[in-house]
Symmetry: C2
Subunit: 410 residues, 2 copies
């Protein structure tokens, strides 16, 4: 059974490596503690601008040469900024490890951040923000999270239009120096490399990186409420957020299995009751979700205006009904399904690297597949039902988006 070796480098950067000698490739996942939650006041969207601006030249290379250098190494890569992190993901052949890390070191330690390139970056960020208007589910969820959190956790990761338009190069460079630091950064590597080799390559490339990091604000919530966004769409978007137990809670796996009972397979309750029996929606799901320190259950449906009231009612009823417990046969199927999903997902180096990095962030350590399987196996009907009775899913935050308000939504 594969496991990850974790090491904290002297500068605070956390490295986790899972060796897979049978694969030719390596998946890298790099999390930087730079997200919308710790964007400075009045600079919402700074993390997004910095992530775009970084690529405009670093070390000895201008933007063009930097792009060419990654392409010459055959690196598939993506980067994005989100609520809590800026993420760099890359996949490449194992013998390119040192060359790839050296390019990332240029990006993180020696970016040019040239003033003349900022306008194009700003325009792209503004376009990304504007495109939210044409994506009703995303727009609804953005408003819903804003309704849930009193803290910065409710911010839109794409930023604020007025702030994006006015941030100066100088303020962004200061922000870069403050937040792009090894303290709080996490690198996960999965694939055909050894731990020792990875550690040496990381130390060579990023050992001199320094800085103390910006930290995160505490989570603050608002009282649950319902909001409606009026928009002339064909479908009504419905989103719900329920408080849930965090990943370090002793009953985390009971909650995880409960969300699978709701939405984990073709016999799951939401799929059966909302879609299959009543034909109310094309798409309905529930999924566990969260930020560091606060976890929640998200539920979603998109439906026609005529079916929206009934859809919301049935969803809430099904979710509330979890407190009455699950059946033995449901739990057995759910455990089988969750285990199979984990085993097969684990096959992909890329998704394993992402899980490792996320575990290090959320838990401070990496769970093995064995550990997760044992925890799931240990949840029996009595235990999950005791948990569900004492932690009922109730009082959600609700957001709807569509041509008219639903009954019972303010």
């Amino acid at each position: 059974m594969a496991f990850s070796q974790v090491e904290v480098l002297p500068n605070g950067l956390r490295l986790a490596v899972e060796e897979r000698p049978w694969t030719p490739g390596v998946a890298l996942q790099l999390l930087l503690p730079v997200g919308a939650v710790n964007d400075p006041e009045g600079m919402e969207g700074a993390a997004s601008l910095l992530e775009g601006w970084l690529w405009k030249g670093a070390g000895s290379r201008d933007a063009r040469a930097l792009a060419d250098a990654f392409d010459e190494l055959g690196v598939r890569r993506g980067s994005s900024s989100a609520l809590e992190h800026t993420t760099f993901a890359a996949q490449f052949l194992a013998d390119k490890l040192e060359a790839v890390l050296s390019l990332f070191a240029d990006l993180l330690m020696r970016p040019h951040l040239p003033t003349e390139a900022l306008e194009a970056v700003r325009q792209i960020a503004l376009q990304e923000l504007a495109s939210l208007e044409d994506q009703p589910p995303k727009k609804m969820f953005s408003a819903l999270r804003r309704a849930v959190f009193a803290s910065n956790h409710g911010r839109n990761p794409s930023g604020n239009k007025a702030h994006l338009e006015t941030m100066t190069a100088e303020a962004l460079r200061e922000d870069f120096a403050r937040r792009y630091t090894p303290q709080g950064a996490i690198v996960a590597l999965v694939g055909g490399i050894s731990f020792e080799q990875a550690k040496e390559a990381m130390q060579n490339a990023l050992g001199d990186w320094s800085g103390s990091g910006a930290g995160y604000p505490p989570v603050e919530l608002t009282p649950p409420r319902a909001i409606h966004l009026e928009q002339d769409t064909a479908q009504v978007q419905i989103g719900l957020i329920y408080p849930d137990v965090t990943i370090d809670h002793p009953e985390f796996y009971s909650a995880r299995l409960a969300s699978q009972v709701l939405s984990g397979g073709s016999s799951s309750r939401l799929f059966t009751e909302v879609r299959e029996k009543r034909g109310l929606v094309y798409s309905v799901y529930a999924a566990p979700n969260g930020v560091k320190g606060y976890s929640y259950l998200t539920a979603y449906a998109g439906t026609t205006p005529e079916r929206a009231d009934e859809t919301l009612r049935v969803m809430q009823a099904e979710i509330a009904r979890l407190s009455e417990g699950v059946r033995e046969d449901e739990l057995i199927r759910t455990k089988i399904g969750l285990r199979a999903a984990l085993v097969m997902q684990d096959e992909s180096s890329r998704s394993r690297a992402a899980s490792i990095a996320r575990d290090l962030y959320m838990l401070g350590r990496v769970r093995t597949l064995d550990e997760i399987e044992a925890q799931i196996a240990a949840v029996d009907v009595e235990r999950i039902n005791r948990h569900l009775a004492s932690h009922p899913y109730q009082n959600p935050w609700i957001a709807t988006l569509g041509p008219r308000k639903l009954a019972g939504v303010e």
Copy 2:
């Protein structure tokens, strides 16, 4: 190097197996020759309705028991109908192979197709169709394909509203009997199973399945033209389709590499010229695409109304400029990038099963990774540039969607 063994069962079903003894899971990809292109006249959306209706009971099980049975085996599965096929994909642990195939045999050979369940299926299909209105890029591409093809290949896979509303249970059952047949069906299995074991399990489960299949209509094109869809969106959606060489053309790999030069990495021409230098768009790409017998290059951008004219002009100019050839350094990077992408994509059993099934459909045989790598290596600058000069990308079909027409779009 892994390779696929292919066998045609006596009933016409084609089976391809790639053994990966080191993985615990198996990925299955099943293509049925049931898509929008061969939906009967006046029944556009029949493939979509049938795919939903199938799950309402089969063999000895009603809908609920069928869903439970898949979940009890820990199967992750998805199914959908598209232009040329209805696809069933599944992933499961290897020791469940026979049980899983036996459930699929019930679905394909012994579905109940109960009249009372059809209404809910119809409502879901209508909702899927309606949701297109809230997805501007998808809506634009749907209209663009309709503008390209005079044949059924321009149909919307989600169907036609009036047809979906009026199709009867009886007509759908007849259609099922005609199109759900082993002739033209393809199964790919990749994972921890042997060819012999897979073949025997397939023969046991589906050996008695019979029928001669519906076939496909020939591709017919319209003359290139530009269309505009007026919609009050924040962004303008721009789509282009250019004729290209098919997968069995000797210069297929030259064309594949040319599309990578356009859009294959961070130094690709469209990304650099449209996004990075000018900041015109958040998202721009080009990608090879096609149906059996006809291949095309698709290009896409989403941008603000003010930048739409320039975006369209720069995209067309960059694509047309391919006929002047590519540089040696560009080609080298592109070859490295394409090879690395193929090697890493091949790691996933699920994506490998999908490629195998697609190869069998498009080419009638399965390409190995070795073959593809050799073909890519064999394309040098002189060869690709000769191809691009003699096969210039020009005269595209164009679709735009947004609040106003662009200059030069009818």
